[in-house]
């Protein structure tokens, strides 16, 4: 779909894909036939630029027809470059500008706490995104309010738009930072679905503390010539590149 639209963020899509699949197929209590059910788990895609990965997952889950993916970023499509909750079922928050999803997730988790409701809130952030200060306001607030019903997943692929995160603006020691703010932190292989499902199934990691999973991922995972290359942050594949990528992924070229 990124190829067809000639637009997109394939590097980040591929690093997040296994995380999304792990959540939507085994963790999140969501029902595509009742996308606004009050008791649903909330998943907030803070890295909204990876909308292609989110849309694909939501379509697989049945929130809308698979065929609609072909309309990605086409004129009047519900599948905008960044997700829009008012247009597309299954989208919980309009994201795109970075550093917005985390505070929204904290608000949702607070609402559940106020109601003593069992549903959980998950937020997926990019790693470079954590350079936005608003995240740290939210991280502080989540610990202050003891939101152990909140699970933040950091897609730690190590590369932001221009270069490695550690070159642009150092994030490490990231786990220690979350811990210092009062979070329970676990590290997980962001491409090991079984490990992630086991981890997300057993929250809170520590009662009374918000949960942070630093998911070690590979930007562009699965396609050798996209993996770990910053230039694929925002670029669509050519016809030849698409064919090569699909061969590597063992797919035929229907997407």
């Amino acid at each position: 779909m990124v190829h067809r639209a000639r637009l997109g963020h394939p590097g980040g899509d591929l690093s997040a894909a296994d995380i999304l699949v792990s959540l939507y197929f085994g963790v999140l209590q969501v029902d595509a036939s009742q996308p606004r059910s009050p008791a649903r788990d909330r998943f907030i895609m803070s890295k909204g630029h990876c909308s292609a990965a989110l849309y694909t997952t939501l379509a697989l889950k049945g929130f809308f027809a698979w065929e609609e993916l072909a309309e990605f970023m086409q004129p009047m499509s519900r599948l905008n470059g960044h997700p829009n909750r008012t247009a597309l079922p299954g989208v919980e928050a309009n994201t795109g500008p970075l550093g917005h999803g985390f505070p929204i997730a904290v608000g949702a988790a607070l609402a559940a706490k106020m109601d003593h409701a069992p549903w959980r809130t998950f937020v997926l952030t990019g790693d470079g995104e954590l350079q936005e200060g608003s995240n740290w306001e939210a991280i502080m607030a989540a610990a202050h309010y003891g939101l152990d019903n909140l699970i933040a997943i950091v897609d730690r692929n190590g590369i932001q738009q221009g270069a490695p995160t550690e070159t642009i603006m150092r994030l490490e020691p990231l786990a220690d930072k979350f811990r210092a703010f009062g979070w329970a932190v676990r590290e997980v292989d962001g491409h090991d679905c079984e490990a992630m499902q086991k981890l997300f199934g057993a929250t809170p990691f520590e009662p009374g503390r918000p949960n942070c999973a630093i998911a070690r991922t590979t930007k562009g995972k699965g396609v050798s010539f996209i993996e770990n290359r910053a230039e694929w942050h925002h670029r669509a594949p050519t016809d030849a590149e698409l064919a090569a990528a699909l061969r590597e992924l063992g797919e035929d070229s229907h997407g």
Partner: protein
Amino acid sequence: MADRFDCRVAFAATLEHVAERDSRIVAVVNDSVGSTHLGAFAKRFPDRLVNVGIAEQNMVGIGAGLANGGKIPFVCGASCFLTGRALEQVKVDMAYSKANVKLCGMSSGLAYGELGPTHHSIEDLAWTRAIAGLTVVVPADPAETAQAVRAAAETEGPIFLRLSRFPVPEVHPPDYQFRIGAAAVLRPGRDMAIVANGTMVCLALEAAVLLEREGVSARVINMSTLQPLDRAAILDAARSTAAIVTVEEHSVRGGLGGAVAEFTATTCPVPMRILGIPTFAPTGGTEWLFEHFGLTPRAICAAALDVLETKVRL
């Protein structure tokens, strides 16, 4: 002189009242319990007041998240920081998302007086009015403030309530019914119209009295909803008086004057004067600054006579 009231009292009392009847209503503050007058709310509903500390971006995002979780959050803080610091969250998390968040900008305009331009909120109407789908309401007195809070609680969708703490008299008749999107003609008039909102409405009414002494019949319109604009009220004023002065405790760019001018310029152009604040304010108290910037009955009267001259020349 009529009694004057700090509208925050009506705001806080009404919020408490609506919260009592609707358990979905919660308050979000940024260490501003005192300045928002929500001390009693906090005591009464301790589990329904979220203090985020000094963090406006987080505060608006949390509001959107609470709304996602089924709450009706009133997100309250000094208007200058709430709008300026968190404008992208207001645009994206609230308006574009159609989130049921009630943004309450306290101590707007020049309310902070001597604290200076860092704390003045004279751009907030221009900023919020530029955002699609965001209702913007500027109540003029305690009764209208109370009704606006109630309307915000009962109307689904994002809204910005721009509140002041500068004491104002009652400007509406006792049977006044506030409705989002409806302007109120507080005084009939045929020669020209003064369109004002917020703290400026009482001054506009005083100016109309001065104008009457000059033989000028001035209509006074309280445009308490800035967005969506009551176009019918403006069009009627433009057609039947053909001269308009707008008055706002806000920048002369992009606020009430801008909204009225945009509309009349494309429907029924009439001579206008836009009274407001053209620059960063010098040091001075709120009342002194009103004088300094010509936000007084006398200055409004002078602007009205001036616009009438233009009208006659045309």
